[in-house]
């Protein structure tokens, strides 16, 4: 078959389709979004009736995926690293129940925080859940791992975590695809039905089963073709290169390594090869993108054993992504740049698009809040977070999805007035609704602005689960109809918008304002699609 030019994300998607996938359950998040989008626009996926609608959040995604696996089918669930925090409860307990149909969970981590609020390394979740983790070093491996991963997952009876980072997700390369496999028929597993009922009596048994499985997972890593030991060159320094770090290592040795090297792309760690490597050298340099996960394991807390170098001893920076350059320095080679960046350069931060509805919302809000010097505005994650930057400087917080509403409640209860939340529509249905119920039950004195652009804007305009439902949801949760307002955020409505904001700040209870105007980028894309 011919090579296709695919992003890492697309290679994962194509592999899943080719391996007989029946469903993808995801919530958008950079750098994972393109996996699900690729499946949504694939004609083969459509032909095969692969379910691919976006979910409300990552937790509903993983749980739904488990349901499909329970029914015997192959399923994948994709999210950005922080998404796995939201899905963590489901994820951890899926390791207890195990799975039936092959199940792969993709975590796209974002070291250097190109588009994220932290740079957590979700290989830690793999260790935490005691599950196998795969970390491809290139697009072809990403394809192969997913293609073979469903079968492995079925053989083991456990889900697999596939961990990628931004540079793998968003880099294109030629990928050789394989034969398309049939999809699984529905079949309920009759083998040990009680494993899905995690009552303590079953959970204790399942935990022992999971622990007993660890040796098999480790042996699989030791026999994996994705983990490779190169012992041709003897040197005092041995190198462990995980995931895409292996590429940066190769880049610096175009004519072959000058050190013993262990490439790791499958976890738990391959103990046998690590022992061989340790026996062959005096010190080990660990190259890994993200946290010093492997480095810490090899070093041990007190560092009394092996001489291990990496991010903890300053051989590499403690934070930020790996590059061919910081790897080169860690290898003791010089980095030469004939030209330097000129002093006149200034940063160019992202900004709200001209004509974006969030702009009008912030304009009106800022104008009113001049009258309320004590105001605190708790915001959330989405394009509207850019309201933190000039010229608006309109918000005081952005922590995790949904935190605007709940933080505003806590602050109001501590005495802040007015305590205001600004949240996007997709974020509201992701994690804001439960916080709103808390507000209603406590009759908290908060003003909640749900800035509805009828899309998931920041991640590129995916369908929002909230579209057309926000008023009904708020009413259902118990917001008083008299304190629930809709308005179109346009210049001509400024005065009206300001009047509503003022009135609802002064109302001592829960108020919700829903300014609603479609994101201009999503609108433009729809117009283009319709024209075609």
């Amino acid at each position: 078959m011919k090579k296709q030019l695919l992003l890492g994300d697309e290679a994962i998607a194509q592999a899943a389709i080719d391996a007989g996938l029946s469903g993808v359950y995801s919530y958008p998040g950079t750098p994972s979004t393109e996996i699900t989008e690729y499946i949504q626009s694939s004609s083969l996926a459509r032909e095969r009736k692969i379910v691919s609608r976006w979910c409300s959040n990552e937790k509903t995604a993983v749980e739904t995926a488990l349901g499909m696996s329970y029914a015997g089918k192959r399923v994948i669930s994709c999210m950005k690293h922080v998404g796995l925090n939201v899905a963590a409860d489901a994820f951890m307990n899926t390791a207890m129940s195990g799975v039936n149909g092959g199940m792969i969970i993709v975590s796209a981590d974002d070291p250097s925080m190109h588009s994220s609020q932290n740079e957590q390394d979700n290989r830690v979740y793999g260790n935490f859940a005691l599950l196998p983790v795969f970390e491809p070093s290139n697009q072809q491996e990403a394809y192969d791992m997913v293609y073979e991963g469903f079968e492995l997952s079925e053989r083991w009876g456990y889900p697999i975590l596939l961990r990628i980072t931004t540079r793998m997700a968003h880099s294109r390369s030629g990928v050789q695809t394989r034969e398309v496999q049939p999809q699984n028929p529905m079949h309920i597993d009759s083998n040990e039905p009680s494993r899905y009922i995690l009552l303590p009596v079953n959970a204790r048994r399942r935990y022992k089963a999971l622990l007993a499985k660890q040796d098999e997972f480790r042996m699989a890593s030791e026999n994996s073709t994705y983990n490779r030991l190169f012992l041709e060159h003897r040197a005092p320094l041995g190198i462990v290169a995980c995931g895409i770090a292996f590429n940066y290592l190769q880049e610096n040795y175009p004519d072959g390594f000058k050190h013993p090297v262990l490439k790791i792309s499958q976890y738990p760690l391959p103990k046998k090869q690590l022992m061989q490597l340790a026996d062959s050298c005096e010190a080990i340099l660990v190259l890994e993108d993200g946290f010093p996960v492997v480095e810490e394991q090899l070093k041990g807390y007190l560092g009394l054993g092996l001489n291990v170098r990496g991010r903890l001893d300053g051989s590499l920076p403690r934070d930020g992504e790996l590059t061919p350059d910081n790897v080169r320095k860690a290898l003791g080679m010089e980095v030469v740049s004939p030209f330097s960046a000129p002093a006149i350069l200034v940063n160019r931060p992202p900004a709200l698009c001209a004509g974006c509805g969030h702009r009008d919302v912030y304009q009106a809000l800022n104008d009113v809040l001049k009258e309320y010097p004590g105001a605190q505005v708790f915001s959330d994650i989405g394009c509207y977070t850019l309201g933190a930057l000039p010229p608006f400087r309109a918000i005081h917080s952005c922590i995790d999805m949904g935190a605007s509403i709940t933080m505003a409640k806590g602050a109001a209860e501590a005495g802040v007035f007015p305590s205001i939340a600004v949240i996007g529509d997709s974020t509201f249905t992701h994690s804001g609704m439960t916080g709103l119920l808390d507000c209603v039950n406590a009759n908290a004195n908060v003003l909640i602005i749900i800035s509805d652009n009828e899309t998931t804007g920041m991640t590129g305009g995916q369908d929002s689960a909230a579209t057309g439902r926000i008023h009904a949801i708020c009413q259902g949760i118990g917001v008083e109809p008299g304190h629930l307002h809709g308005i179109v955020p346009l210049k001509k409505n400024y005065e009206e918008m300001k009047a509503i904001i003022r009135k609802e700040i002064d109302y001592p209870g829960v108020s919700v304002i829903v300014p609603c105007r479609e994101c201009i980028q999503t609108h433009a894309r729809k117009v283009k699609l319709n024209r075609r």
């Binding site: 979004t33 294109r172 590429n247 006149i344």
Partner: protein, 195 residues
């Protein structure tokens, strides 16, 4: 043979479709390639760049090492300069001349041009103007590609095929418009070197 190219610009300017055309052409030429893109937050009017690596041997790193780029192709004059540390000593900068000022503290354009005066190899063109004169105002990025094509290890005809494949979905008109822009860019790029 190995060519490392940095493509630079501001979110929304069309850097990624430019990269896609070169990528398609390289793959059709049987070359190995890797192309790292920036998606996500910075696409909202922030600075965007793409690392494009083409070689007759497998490419290891998705990122170009510092000091190794053969070419910087940029749709914005200041953005090109951001990546100078990647440029090798004989490398070329091919850039659009007009600033994209969506920030309040954009430096004086004369200061930007002073930096260009210190660079040994550069082509500075107003590709928007050229595209406008051609009657294809939205194909400035492809004019730039045409000008840069002189420094690429890929046959011009392969680039034309790349355009046919990438823009084919959008209809014959769009393909024809972009082919015209590519030609015009090549012609002007040629002239710029010799004057």
């Amino acid at each position: 043979m190995k060519t490392d190219i940095i493509l630079a610009g501001v979110g929304g300017q069309g850097i990624l479709s430019l990269a896609a055309v070169i990528g398609e052409a390289a793959l059709a030429d049987g070359l190995y390639m890797k192309q790292a893109e920036v998606h996500g937050m910075s696409q909202r009017g922030g600075d965007v760049q793409s690392h494009l690596r083409i070689s007759d041997r497998p490419v290891a790193s998705d990122l170009i090492p510092l000091g190794q780029a053969d070419l910087i192709i940029s749709l914005e004059p200041m953005e090109a300069l951001r990546y100078l540390p990647y440029l090798q000593k004989d490398g070329w900068v091919v850039t659009h001349s007009e600033p994209f000022e969506n920030i309040p503290n954009y430096p004086e354009i004369s200061e930007v041009m002073k930096v260009y005066e210190t660079l040994p190899h550069k082509v500075i063109l107003n590709v928007e103007q050229i595209a406008k004169e051609l009657g294809t105002p939205r194909s400035g990025n492809i004019v730039l590609l045409g000008a840069a094509s002189l420094y690429l290890p890929i046959d011009f005809s392969k680039l034309e095929n790349g355009i046919r494949r990438i823009f084919g979905k959008k209809g014959e008109d769009v393909v024809a418009m972009n082919l015209k822009a590519l030609q015009a860019g090549k012609k002007i790029g040629n002239r710029t070197i010799f004057t």
